[in-house]
Structure formats: C-alpha cells, structure tokens
C-alpha cells in the first residue's frame, strides 16, 4: 500500500467498514481552489476559490443560472453523475483532495451530505427506514439504530411530530416535514459538511422558519453550505456569503465577492454585489 493509501486509510476514507469512531467527526473545512465546471464543451463555472469555514454557515447567493447549484454539486461529486460533466481545480475536505483518483465518490458523499430543493424522501420506505437508508446505502454501521433515528430526527427538528408514527410512509408528511426528514436522513450518516440547495424554496414560510432554526443549531457540528435566492434568508442564517454572477449570456459563472455576511450586505466591495444586495437586479 502506498503512502497516500495509508494516509487515506487513516482518515477512514479508503478502508472498508471503518468504525465510525475512527473517522474524525465534527465540522470540517471545505476549501475550493480555482474550481471550474463544464457540461460537455460548455464552460459553466470559472475559477471559483472559496473557503467554507468549519462550524459556520456559508451562503451562496446570486441570480438564478449563475452556477451556484453547479458549484454546490461539485462539492460532493454529484456533478459528475451527469454524462459529459467535467471539473477543474481542487477541492480539499480538511486535508483530503476529494477528487483524488484513489477516492471514490461514494466515500466523499458519505462525508459531505446534501439536501435538495425538492424534498425527496423514499416513497417505498417508512419514516424510520428513510432515516436509516443512508446507513444501508453507504455501508456505515451503527450500534444503536433506535438512538440514531431519534437523534437524527431531533437534530432536524422533526422528532416530536413523528415520534409516534415512525412506521408510516414518508409520503404522508407535509412538504416542510418531508424536507426535515431529508435533513434527518442526511444527518444520520454523520456527515462533516451538509450542502443545501435552496432547501426552503418549495416550502411555506412557517416550514421555512423551522428549517432556518434547524440550520442555525446544526452549524456547530456540521459545516453548512446553503444556496439561496432569498437574500433575507442569507442574512438570517449565514455567517459568510459568496456572491455569484454571470457577466454575459453564455459566459461562465464566476464568484464576484465573498466574505462575512454582515460585511457583504452592509458594505460590499464590488459594485455588482452592491447592485444585487440592494435589489437593483436579480
């Protein structure tokens, strides 16, 4: 085994069945360096460099179509699921290059979880099975499943509402509840980073509020990166912000500016950022 493999093994990425205890837990740092993206020959993202700090919430904002979601999906190697997709640049999860040849995408996705815009609980499984589904899919083990289910649902803010109906099917919940179920499901595999792609855009205001509370509570244990169209939401939940923009039609998206949320909104450095946060376009 080469040196790289030994290292990767220690981090628990390469070795099968590594007990969760061996894997460093807690929020991790994501460092994107000069990341670009293509769909086939079309470049859609250009040279994005961003540090997403551990234990903090980083919001990606900007008008639609600027590559925010593409960037997010690159972070957990979901971008390559699409045929013809390609990536340039480096992404470091703490000290690990997630695009290294030795690292399989499934391992990466176990460490970096994702919640989608449209809630997608598995319809053929019950609530409890949904929460545990990540274990089965990623090959993780757990000593106490009951506890894990309760713990995950608690962290997602859903436990009290479903504690008595864990056996019911996921489809019987409301939209907001389904989304929280998806959050619980993602949390059950103990990811170190959680990516959220406009998680509240399909939900009503009350559910949105509940989820925003959840995000704030989660941030200590899990680094969160959230894409949002809603500037007020970005200001409410995030510590840091990054503003994306497409200059011309057909050009690739770029990150214009990033920094602490307060600073970005109150005193943006770039004119275009100022234009967006003050609602002049978007």
């Amino acid at each position: 085994m080469s040196v790289d493999e030994a290292n990767l093994q220690e981090i628990g990425v390469l070795e099968p069945d590594a007990c969760d205890a061996l894997i460093p837990s807690g929020a991790a740092k994501l460092d994107a360096q000069n990341v670009s993206a293509w769909f086939g020959r079309k470049k859609v993202l250009e040279g994005v460099s961003l540090v997403m700090e551990p234990g903090k919430v980083t919001a990606l904002i900007g008008p639609s179509g600027c590559g925010k979601s593409t960037f997010l999906r690159i972070l957990n190697r979901m971008h390559e699921v699409i045929p013809g997709a390609a990536v340039g640049g480096t992404i470091m999860l703490d000290e690990l290059d997630i695009y290294d040849d030795q690292v399989s995408p499934t391992r990466v996705r176990k460490r970096i979880g994702m919640v989608f815009q449209k809630p997608n609980p598995f319809p053929s499984m019950s609530i409890e099975q949904n929460v545990l589904s990540g274990l089965r899919l990623s090959g993780a083990t757990s000593d106490n499943r009951r506890e894990l289910v309760e713990d995950s649902l608690q962290r997602a803010g859903l436990w009290n509402e479903v504690r008595n109906r864990l056996g019911e099917f996921g489809g019987s919940l409301s939209g907001g509840q389904q989304q929280r179920l998806c959050i619980a499901r993602a949390l059950a595999v103990k990811p170190r980073v959680l990516l959220m792609d406009e998680p509240c855009s399909a939900l009503d205001p009350i559910s949105t509020g509940v989820i925003e509370d959840t995000i704030r509570e989660l941030a200590e244990d899990v680094t969160i990166v959230i894409v949002t169209h809603n500037m007020q939401q970005a200001q409410r939940v995030s510590n840091n912000c990054a503003f994306f923009l497409i200059e011309d039609e057909g050009a690739a998206g770029r990150m214009i500016e990033s920094g602490p949320t307060k600073a970005l909104f109150e005193d943006p450095q770039d004119m275009r950022t100022a234009g967006y946060v003050h609602g002049r376009f978007g």
Binding site: G113, K118, S133, V189
Partner: protein
Amino acid sequence: MVSLVIVGATGAFLFWYARPALKAAGWWGFFVHSIWNPSAGRFGVGGLLIGTIMIAAVALLVAVPIALSTALFINEYAPPRLRRALVGVVDLLAALPSLIFGMWAIFALEPHIAGIAKWFSEHLSALPFFQLTDQSALLVKSTFEAGVVVGIMIIPIITSVSRDVMSQVPREQCEGALALGGSRWGMIRDVVLPFGRSGIVGATLLGFGRALGETIAVALVISLVFAPQPHVLQSGSGSIAALIATQFGEANAQARSGLVAAGLALFIVTLIVNMVARIIVNRAAKRGGSRIARITVAEAVDDMGI
C-alpha cells in the same frame, strides 16, 4: 360494458363450434380429463392445460432474470451507443418468427439441454420436479426444453415493459440515494426496483400470457403427451396450442370441434392473464402522479396545523 360484449362475442363463436366436442366429452370433463380420442368422442385437455402452464412457468424462470438484467443494463448502465444497439438486439429477438426458434431449439439447443438436464437430475433430485421416473429416461423434448425456448422468446416483452416502467422513476429520488453515499447498485436496489416493482410484476404477467399462447416453437420441440407430466426434465409435455397446431391438418370434423374447444380454453386463460397484467402495468405507470397529489393535500391540511 360494451367491451365485455365484444369479448363475449369472440368467445361465442369459438364456443359455438366447440359445442359438439364439448357435448361429447361433457362440459366439465373436457377441462378436467386428459384424453384425446376423437373417434370415440372422448376429449379432455386437463393435462394439456397443466402442461401449458408448466411450460410457461419454466419460461418465466428463465426469462425474468435475463430480461430484468437486460432492462437494468440498458436503462442504468449502458452508454448511449451501446444502449441503442442493445435495444435493437432485443427488438430483433422479438421479431424473429417462432418457427425459427423452434428449429434452432431442436438442432442447436437440444444437445446442450440434455447435458444440463442430466446435471439437474443428478444434483438437484431433492426437488420433486427434477426427479426422473427411470434413469434412462430421455432428457430432451421435455417441459424444460420447451420452457427454455419459450423463455428466450418472451425476454423482449418483459424487458421492454420493465424498461418503460423503470425509466419513469423520478430523478430526484435517484440523486437522493447517490447523495447519501450509495453506489449505483444501492440506488437501483433501494429506489429504482421498489419504484418499478408492480410494473415489473405486470411485465412478468404479460410474458406469462405470451408464453401460454406460444405454439410453433413448443410444437416443434416437445413430444406431446396428454397426461399431466410433473417430471419437467423428461421427454413428454403438454401444450394446448401445440395440440391444435399438430392435429389440425389430419383431423375430421369431430376432432376439429375438439380442437376449437381446446382453443377456447386457451383463449379464456390468456385473456384473463393479459387483462390482469395490463391493469397492473397501467396502475404502476400512474403511481408517480398520485403521490404528488397526496403531498399537496397533506400540505394543505398541515398549513392549518403547525
């Protein structure tokens, strides 16, 4: 229901000409007994009915694994060019006439069948179906051989319907499974297959219906016996369709009436199987829509709650 009337009319014609034979054999007796002696007025296709079903059952056992794998491979694994090629292969398999399959079976497949059947009879004799009445029994022209050929013939229809159903699985669920760290097989196992489950069952039933009606390939392959034959590896099997095909040419009016009656029996059985299959497949295809409806309703109710 007008549709039932039309189906009934079809059945009625067959029935009319089947009457003489049915009268001779006894209405019930025709379907239960196993004998074929037209000149004596003794008819009974019971054994043949059982044989037909058995051949179709073996065919399913052969076809479903291959068809399902092929469907999954085409939908989830194959790159675009390979996908088009493989779809063409499956379609071509469906287009080949039954006659060709039968001829290929006798001359090319049969030698291998004997060997495989021998292996089964030696190693799996614990199962009653695989036993032989005596050790020197002929192991070709059996239910097993017919089942294998018919199985190959129904692969395309099972593949094609399964593919249709499985391709409708919502992308977001597949992505959800992958985002949790699942492998492609994990996604298929936990999302695609549960979604397609009832559709695949429907596809299987459609294949079963088709297998029940398979005539020429079976007629060429088996050696026809009228009594029910539980030993699937041994020579001798039953098939109503094969009976009609082989006996028709030389039959007199009375015998032909018997054949029409046999055809009636086959018609009823395949009709039922196909109708059930269609219902299941149609229901599976609509599933995605009904779930979304449920979400919206639950959400509306919930808005007033939390």
